[in-house]
Amino acid sequence: MRVRDLLDVLECRVEAGAAGLDNEVKGGYASDLLSDVMAHAGEGDVWVTVQAHQNVVAVATLVSLACVVVAGGVECEPEAARRAEEEGIPLLRSRLPAFEVVGRLYVAGIRARPGAD
């Protein structure tokens, strides 16, 4: 599954980083704590969060995530969008609450990766 396949599923729009829409989605992780994501998310994961500042993009880049989904209709900070564009990391924004976003990803076949440690 590619990041672009998530757009309809999550009813989300691409805020920035469209260059990475063909990234393969290999798994998923949900958290609002940056260190927790650093420690447990894996390369190619979709990350669901309600954090929407530039450090989110820095973390996503460092662990080579497939994309970031900002849930709950939270506004992305302009600096986050600028950074996502620069790094080519898709920053997606959905009006759906995080719980619903994760549920839809699960139904679409995305799983947390075992041993993502």
């Binding site: 704590l33 260190s35 650093m38 450090n55 820095a58 973390v59 460092l62 662990v63």
Partner: protein
């Protein structure tokens, strides 16, 4: 090979740049992805600790064929009780920083967990030094 990056306390704009630079460099010199990931994690946590808690600091990295050595030295308040600071979930980060998703008390534990050697020293009122070593898996023994 040696890398050195200055890190400024309170600068959340530039935060993560030192770790990103390290990750790019490791990829360029052909370090395997898992080792690169571990180095990026510990460097990022060390960098963020300086941004969150210290006035300023320097992240220096020495890359040899056997290992990656990361030193984070800062001028700052120091840590009065290191065993307490090493506990998962313990943090002294202020509320506005926690709201950004930092300060969950995972930084130091992550640094220890993802490095092969970890040493921390601190002088209250002066600053903190962290030294971390990540061994590079020799070719053929990579999993």
């Amino acid at each position: 090979m040696r890398l050195e990056c200055r890190v400024t306390g309170g600068d959340f704009q530039a935060a993560g740049e030192a770790a990103a630079k390290l990750k790019r460099t490791l990829r360029q010199v052909g370090i395997d992805a898992e080792t690169g990931r571990r180095a990026a994690i510990v460097a990022y946590e060390a960098e963020m600790n300086i941004v969150i808690h210290a006035l300023r600091g320097v992240l220096s990295v020495e890359i040899s064929p056997e290992c990656i050595e990361i030193l984070a030295n800062d001028e700052g308040p120091g840590i009065p009780d290191i065993p307490l600071a090493m506990q998962e979930g313990y943090s002294t980060a202020p509320e506005h920083i926690r709201e950004m998703g930092f300060g969950a008390g995972l930084g130091l534990p992550n640094m220890k967990r993802y490095s092969d050697e970890f040493r921390i020293e601190s002088v209250v009122g002066r600053g903190t030094s962290v030294r971390m070593v990540i061994k590079i898996a020799s070719k053929g023994s990579q999993t």
